[in-house]
Symmetry: D2
Subunit: 354 residues, 4 copies
């Protein structure tokens, strides 16, 4: 079985593992009060080119989103998100379980716009009976998005501008931020994000770490006592150093971008290969997640040797499938996959064989 | 600085790290749906000598407690715990934040008794106005306890009996279960615990793993959809295999007990040494946590070279101090510490020098 | 100003107020442990023709919904509701604030169908990755609906059948149940509802009481310790008798239906009148809430003398408006309103004058 | 049966009921947006002699406490309260269910002191590991207290001073504020309370209203969007006018104080009578709640004709009993009770007969 179902199918990038081995017997205080975490936090501030940031390290994305969202809201406030937002569809109602409604907006290629957000606010604030509705206070977007697409600088700046005008916070879920930053299409770098967001995170789980996400908070109100919130939600890792060690390795020498570039180039190989075979793409993008529409008969055959993530059925005969590459994807596996795909399409009298 | 402040000051036991290295590039599905987790779960059932158990792996203790407690309670129900219980004093109100009152009972050497629990239930159920009070439904105890002491089989059996009678669940926090099981004083083995508890956990964080706790659920009502609860609280590790790999290594060949024995024997060296110096013990126990009463002047001197965990002040001049050993404690550090202690006590005209 | 904006614009039906006066100086125990509450509960069981029901009295609808929904769900479970459901759009996120996602379904005339519900369940239970989603466990519908329409017996029976099949609970919000039951269109009486629901409520706030809703629980799991839940949410009225006194008066001699019939007949007068004027109806129904589409120019004029509830804009020139009648609506006010409407439409060159 | 078990055993003071009758058919908008509520709010500001106050009206005390406490805290923050505090012992864990730990302090006659509060804060803020603990942020006290005693101006001022110094909010639960204000012992009037509290409430349930509590908020951070919070918790009464009508009647012409004085004088009759009989008092106070220690044999006899609230057993033979008077207590019932008490004590060879 060759796995293209996720970008977290292996352990850690060898350099990260090496560093964990190397530091294993060093004694440190617990809960992140160690020099590795301090070093990693400083590196992040350096990459963001500003010092007025709080940096916290967490194990996983759902808890990271949960903490970022809840720290930003009071009870009666809601978070605006696209209907495909990870917090809305993939986290077992974690945000609602923590007490907050998610106000969803229709997305286009995984993205929402400044004017959609503005409209929601106008509707709320212009309604004299608004006491009966939740108050929009936070905007949640993802970069790169759940569909592997990217917000451009102009789009983020416009959203940030609406946020300022409407007294909203802006939060970017960066579970796959590196894949986005490694794309040539991208124009939003870390300093730009740090300038325009109140809070965002750089993902490690999906980009070569054993585990880990780095939350970056600029807004002072959200930042207040954030470590207490982490602890209360069970997110303060006893051996917190493990997060510092991993992040300082990942962020050194641009390793973060390098390995994302590898994943993107593997995705591009698949993208070009499938396009030649006239496979339909559900979404166009330039990062490590591919969304294609495949006949169920083809999928049945391929599923014997390959793992994918299955999306919704388009019709009785076709389904959307997500193909993920990662820092660990081997080119030989990609080539084997493309050959198998070609063969199966041909057998089923589809694709270029048609 | 030599650290005796915790049993999670280093990375992982070398065998565990070795196994993580060895399996690093294997591809697996995410979120614990891998063969390593399956293997570790089977090992635990084997050690508990029963098959009717659900086993789940989590990263940390606070989230483990949070999930175990909340899965056991409905909104109006409370958990009974000793005043020193980790959930009451060290988790930033995580249980209350999840909606439940902790009904505390006075502890003796870290332990509570069956009759104390029975009395709480009697008080509740005999009160016709009980609708105004929370309903006791779960008993939380720790083995080994926060003071390093142990519940004996007879004590646990008596508590379990009250639980049956009063329709309570019994939960044992096993953050340091191995240190307890490795003590000669202990008579409660895993099959005994599995028989008498509705839910309990075997700690990994404090016993040689990078991170990890194994929740063992016998009660079917608590077990229901537990994985959904884990995910919702942000506790489902993307690379879940890391927990399976670590636990299957730790539990193989009795490694779990071996390394705990080492910690206990290091603690015993310190215990015997300090007793010779007539240092006062706050609590008597046989595991890896020592609680001694030291003059502030002595502490001030020792703190230059040693890290401890500081407890409450006994009076104007003395304070309780917790000294932890672990799987990683080096005998040479213990010897150095004892020599330094002797020297400092002597300088301050205390202890054997007095 | 003549008010058609709600059915709770006056105090209580005179008979209810009379009974409150009459019993004022009687001494009773607090929190509903009095004979009036007992009597009212017995009357409800009688009307439902079954004895296996728990009856609780609450002050308001939002708390009633909140308690009914939360008592039915565990943390990871969600409630299915139409997009227009009161719990989704009008309660400031109360359900989410209590920890639960609302899974909305598109409604038609305020109603959802058994097959829609079945599909949601199929999607959840057939997904092997369902641990990442909330589990549907409760169906919320309203009778009469937010659009004043009615579920027929066959529709409710079909929904109840899906609920049985899918292990879902069925809950009916009866804030305006009386208006529905008083309609000639209705075929679902109280015994039918009690048979098919796990829990439902009979509204008093909108049907002639100062305040009050009666929750009726058949399902034993939901019923358990329900009074504790009420108290915990702050819903246990100190002078609980006030609810018993009001309900026993309202339900005696069919007063409940009588006053709803009056409201419905007043609505019908308006309905027939507006239809003659060719006013467009947004929804067709037979109860006390009318939804009409009116030009903004007409509304501007009418709003000087009449209060309505304003709905969404249909286009640049028209808006949906809700017109409510109640037990207290005076026929003379209805006639005055119809004359004014005719005049305004005529002035604006609309309606029958066109 | 003559009831001395609570001060909410009857309906409403006749003047209040009269006003409800009088206004019954007036049409108003819902949810408190009516002129009666506006009038009552203005009266309260006038009585407090300041205009910078937000006033909200709620139905019951538990929800009032719940909203006041939760609006004041972020997730990781706790409320300090005496062990006898209503929120800790009588509200089914409502505060914890809403996510907050109650940090209890030992009380003396129902009261806590400024220095106790200061000590809690010192302990928290001086602990470098405080991330593991909840952060004290609010002080909850009751006036008159659960034991019917009173905080004097100097005590409240001292507590308010610690609150300022420690960045805490001060909240006073005024469920029985009127009984306190009507006592000659009292020196803390409404302007004084408004000056020293961030938020407090004037109780109506226990002082002659059918129901109702008036929350008064001075602190702008707590006040923000408070009505949204009320609605979300299900506390926004549909016919909100009922609260405005009742409060404006209660607060007019000093009726609030007058009826409390009556209750206090009835309590004093009992107090003097029982003291003559040498009945032991558990607490000394000057308001409407009496706490006496009675032999179980005496209680058994008296309980045939009188309702009390039973407190804890002092020993095998005696129990604390709470005797409440109210605005509605009749002097003839007091006299009958005193005669019966004398007779029973005499029969049991106790009291003055001894």
């Amino acid at each position: 079985m060759i796995r293209f179902d996720s970008d977290y199918g292996e352990g850690a990038h060898p350099k990260i593992l090496e560093k964990l081995n190397e530091t294993n017997m060093v004694q440190t205080p617990g809960y992140g009060g160690d020099s590795y975490c301090e070093e990693a936090a400083q590196m992040i501030k350096g990459l963001c080119k500003r010092d007025d940031l709080d940096v916290h390290f967490l194990v996983g994305g759902t808890l990271t989103n949960l903490l970022s969202v809840t720290a930003s809201l009071r009870y009666h406030q809601s978070v605006i998100a696209p209907t495909c937002g990870h917090i809305f569809v993939m986290e077992t109602g974690a945000i609602e379980a923590a007490g907050h409604k998610i106000h969803t907006l229709p997305e286009k290629d995984g993205k929402i716009t400044a004017s959609q957000i503005d409209e929601v606010c106008e509707e709320y604030w212009s309604n004299s009976a608004r006491v009966h509705f939740t108050q929009p206070k936070l905007v949640y977007i993802t970069q790169s998005t759940e569909y592997g697409t990217l917000y451009k600088k102009a789009e983020i700046a416009a959203i940030a501008e609406v946020c300022r005008k409407r007294d909203l916070y802006l939060y970017i879920d960066g579970a796959r931020l590196g894949y986005g930053m490694a794309s040539e299409e991208n124009d939003a770098d870390l300093p730009f994000l740090a300038e325009h967001c109140d809070i965002f995170y750089i993902g490690g789980n999906k980009q070569g770490m054993l585990f880990g996400e780095a939350i970056i908070i600029k807004n002072r109100e959200i930042a207040k006592d954030f470590r207490s919130l982490i602890k209360q939600r069970g997110g303060l890792l006893a051996k917190g150093r493990l997060l510092g060690i991993q992040f300082s390795t990942l962020l050194a020498d641009n390793l973060y971008i390098q390995i994302a570039k590898h994943a993107n180039s593997m995705a591009d190989l698949i993208r070009q290969g499938l396009k030649k075979m006239k496979v339909k793409f559900f979404v166009e993008n330039t990062t490590n997640l591919l969304f294609v529409v495949l006949p169920l008969t083809v999928l049945e055959e391929l599923s014997k040797g390959y793992a994918f993530t299955y999306g919704k059925k388009i019709n009785e005969k076709e389904r959307v499938v997500r193909i993920s590459t990662s820092w660990a994807t081997k080119e030989e596996n990609v080539q084997t996959f493309l050959r198998d795909m070609e063969r199966v399409l041909s057998e089923k009298h589809l694709g270029i064989a048609a």
